[in-house]
Each structure stands twice: as C-alpha cells, then as structure tokens.
Amino acid sequence: MKKGTKRICSLVLLVLIALLLFWLEANKSGQGMLISILQKSAILAIVAVSMNLLNGFTGLFSLGQAGFMSIGAYITAILTIPVVNLDGVYYMNGVAPWVRALKEGMEAGPSWLQSVYPFLALIVGGLVAAGFAALIGIPVLRLKSDYLAIATLGFSEIIRAIFSSPQMDTITNGSYGLNKVPTFPKFFGLPSLFTPFIIAGVTIALMVLLINSSYGRAFKAIREDEVAAEAMGISLFRHKELSFVVSSFFTAISGGLLAMFMRSIEAKTFSIALTYDILLIVVIGGIGSVSGSVLSAFLVTASKEWWLRFFDQPLTIGGWQVPLFRTGFRMVIFSILLMAVVLFYRRGIMGNSEFSWDGVARLPGRIKGWFSRKRPAHEAAGGDGI
C-alpha cells in the first residue's frame, strides 16, 4: 500500500472517531451504556499500554498496577472533590485540617487556573506514583520474573492497606472510600465526554514515542538478553528504573481517570483483581504490541460489560426456557472465549507486531484462508498479527 493511501486511511479513521464522539455527545442520554464502555476502555487502554511498556518491552514482570492506579485515583479524588462536599464525604471521621486548607486555597485561585486543576491533579497523582516507583525500584528491580512480580504485588497490597487503614481516615476516608468525585473536566472547550479519549490518545502517543526512541531500543535489548545489553554499554538499572517510573506515572494517570469515571472510589476497587484484568488485556492483545493492548482494552471491556450481557437474562425460545441463562452466566462464556482466544492466538491478537494498514489490507485474504483449506503463504510463514 502506498504511503499516501495509508495517510488518507489514518485520517479517515481519526475523522470517524471524532464523528462517533460528536454523535455520542449529541445522543448522550440514549447512549449512556456505550459511552461508559468506551470511556472505561480508553482508561484501561492507558494502563494496558503502560503495563506493556514494562512487561512487554522491558521484560519486567510487574504486578503492581493496581497499587499505582490507587495512588493516582486517591490523589485525583482528594484534590478535585469540591470543598462544599467535603463534610458530606468525610461524614464519619471529618477531614484533616490541612487537606481542607489546601483545597480552600485551591478554590480561591483564579477561574482559569481552576479549570486546569483536574488535569494538574492527574499529573500530581502521576508524579507521586512515579516517585514511589523510583524508590521501591531501587531494591525491587534487582529481582527478576516471578520474584519481581511477587514483590510488586506486595507493594500494591501494602498501598491498598495503607489507604484503607484507620490512621488515614481523615485523608482517604479509610474503608468508606471517597465519593462525589467530579466527572471528567472539559478539555479546551470540548465536551467532557471527549476528555478520557484525548488523554488516552496523548499518553499512549507519548509512550509510543518513548518505545521508538533509542531508550525503547535499549528496553528491548534488556528484554532480549541482559548480559548482551550490559556488554553493549546499556546500564541495566538505569533503564529498568526509567521504564518502571514512566510506566507507573501513566498507570497513575489512568487511575485518576478511573476515579473521575466511577465518581466514587474505595480501596477495594484497587485489589489484585484489577491488576489481573489489565494483565488479561495485555496478554489477549499481545505482549509487546501497543496497538494490540489498545484493541484488546476495547474488546475485553465491551464483551465483558456489553456484548455478553444477554447471557445474564433468562431466554425463552418458542416457549422453551433455555437453561443456564442467568445472572453470572456471561462470565462463564467470557472465560470460555478467553480460553479459545489463548488457544488459537497463542501470542495474543497482535503477537508483537503493530497495527498497519497493510495488515488490514491483507485481512480479507486471511479470513478467506480460514474457510478454505489452503492457507495463504504469508500465514503459513508465521506471524500472528494482522
């Protein structure tokens, strides 16, 4: 495919996405379900890509995502809950005086500044998480594979325990969690519905830039062979630390967005199950593929929350009540689908290749290939990605 054609295709895709967003904005009340699924997918796409940066590109198997997300979520929530709502939110234990003072100070600022506070809150959350990552990275990044996974998992659980501890009652509201978190802010006058998508686009683009830079090449070298990378003059510790810090920063940003999306958070939200959900997205999408992670964030979220919903309702065909169709059955189907995907696409939907228009152009041929016995040559030669 020619370069010009590809550019036109990309442009058309962007316009279609924008049109979809404007259409959703116009039909907000009727399409609430679709909007919330797409927004959640965009938020999860950010974590999935940042987890992929760490696990897929640097080869560091970390399971601390939920912990870093909770840091971002709590900081964003605390900074954005309006002062008028403070007493209602902290009705059990009251709010720490310095938190109230800080927030009153913030609300005294000029209005243009107040309109960027939500974005600042996201960035502050990201920076704090990055700071934590830098600190725990020093001891933890000496570990490899399973051991690193266990250490980061432990960190994530510790963070969760701290946020829900009674000692933190006046700041994080302990086990009651925080609510009345304002929804997404407006982004330069665009409707607030657009914000998660714009932030997802920007953060993912930044991570792609990093992956394609010479740092990204060093990350991949470390993933492939640490000894050889070290012999080439790549400092293992510095690069692992960089990857860990950057990944944690974006993970926390998505945590902050999740707080805005859910409007209320509690420590339980950020249990290990959340990390597994993200790991699932990364594995299904393809470890080492950014576009795979994005694609699978939307696919997994949509099938979990939407496409499979009808399995949860009782179904009657011609007076015959179909057995098994009841609440929770959708998760059974979902798990079976997961197993099927993993069996047939062992390296995820995209493997470690990226989305390209050439791949899309080949897709019809491949689909035909599935139904005819003869497999097309490029598929027989290997390569799972489209």
Binding site: R217, K220, A221, E224, D225, V227, A228, A231, S235, N352
Partner: protein
C-alpha cells in the same frame, strides 16, 4: 594498551582466575587459549565489568578501569563480543547493529555502512529478525554490533563456538581484517590452532593461572601446547 596485573576473580564461589598478568599491545591480536574452565571467559567478563574483580588491577590506555560499571568501560573503548553470540533474537539485524552504538550520540550512517561492507550478508538481511539468522550470520552480527561502538579494543569470547570449519575460517579472516584496520583484538579460543595462527602473541591459561606465553608461532611449536591443545603426540 591493556595491562592486566595480578588479576583475581571469583566466579560461582570458586577462585576462577588466580592472579594472572598479561598485556595487550596496541594494534595487535592477543589470544588466551585454554581448556574449559580455565578462566578465560571470566577474565574477559571481568575486564568488561560484568563480574566484580577480587584483586589486581586492569589498566587501559594508562587509566584504571577496574571497578567501573560496564557502561563506563564501553565508553573508554572496550567492547565484548559475548560467548555464544547473544544477539537480540526478536529485534531486526539493523536494530541489533544500532544497539551496539547505544552510547554514541553522533551520526551512525558511516559506521553502519562500514559494518555492512565488512559483512555484506548482514546488509541483505537487515530487516530480518536476528533469531532467524544462521549461527555464522549471528556471529557476524555479534561482531558487527560490537564494532558499532567504535572500540579501540574488541574482546571476542570463542567466536568459533558451534560453527562449521569453513565459516570459522571466514570469521577469522574478518578478525584479521578488522585488526588491519587498526582495532586491537583480545581473542579467547578453544580452537588453539586457528587462534595461534592469527595471533601476534598468546597466553596459555590453565585452571586460573597463566602457564605459558609466547608469540603465536612459538606456541604453535611448543611441545606441551601441541600435546594439550593441538592433539599432536609429544615426540
């Protein structure tokens, strides 16, 4: 150029290198030969800063480099071609080559062309994944990758390992060619015959000690070397 004196290295709980001293003069090919477990690889890894040293000094171009982290040592102009090639299998040939120049910030085009001139095969395969190359091609890639840091001294750990004799000959021709272009070479080999023929000077390493040294030709004629490494009977 490189002066090693009384180098001691522990590896895996044992003293693998027990106080060896040798020098590598500028623009020469020096080889360390010895059986498995003699401490050859450990010596190279210690010079490259990949394993900590226990005692002694390593001096390069008049400066102490022992104790420096490996990225600083690469910066001084020493590169290691690790044992078993260790190319990055899921990256393309070109990406592998570029990683070799990781510490450099200047333009790489000339050097990439230089490597492609030395190894035309790599140019043909520049978009192929390194893991799909044959053993000989991977060895070429490992050498080419190491050359990208523009080293003054290149250390090669058993470049003939697991390669067919014809290909090994090709690799040695290229080693000599690189040396002719002004790069000093420290070579480790089990294939003593080939290594000594190529080398200006050689050292025989046995269980962590240097037991013999001499020019390549001298060692080739030495009765003990012949018996132990060249498979010829003592007269």
């Amino acid at each position: 150029m490189l002066n090693i004196s009384n180098l001691k290295v522990n590896y895996g709980g044992i003293e693998a290198v027990k106080g060896i001293s040798f020098t590598v003069p500028e623009k020469s090919i020096v080889t360390l030969i010895g059986a498995n477990g003699a401490g050859k690889s450990t010596t190279l890894r210690a010079i490259a800063g990949l394993v900590p040293i226990k005692g002694g000094t390593i001096e390069f171009l008049g400066k102490q480099i022992s104790g420096l982290p490996s990225e600083k040592i690469v910066g001084t102009g020493i590169t290691l071609v690790p044992e078993g090639r260790r190319v990055f299998p899921d990256l393309t040939v070109l990406e592998n080559i570029k990683i070799g120049a990781y510490l450099r910030k200047d333009d790489l085009t000339d050097d990439i062309n230089w490597v492609y001139d030395l190894f035309p095969r790599l140019k043909e395969r520049s978009w192929q994944l390194a893991g799909t190359l044959s053993g000989g091609e991977q060895q070429m890639l490992a050498v080419g990758r190491a050359l990208m840091s523009r080293p003054k001294l290149i250390m090669m750990d058993e470049p003939s390992l697991g390669l067919a004799p014809l290909i090994v000959q090709g690799i040695f021709d290229i080693i000599k060619e690189i040396n002719r272009q002004g790069v000093t070479i420290l070579l480790i080999e089990q294939n003593a015959n080939l290594a000594l023929r190529a080398a200006d000077y050689g050292y025989v390493l046995e269980t962590g000690n240097i037991t013999l040294d001499g020019t390549g030709a001298e060692l080739l004629e030495n009765e003990d070397v012949k018996a132990a490494y060249l498979g010829k009977k003592k007269k």
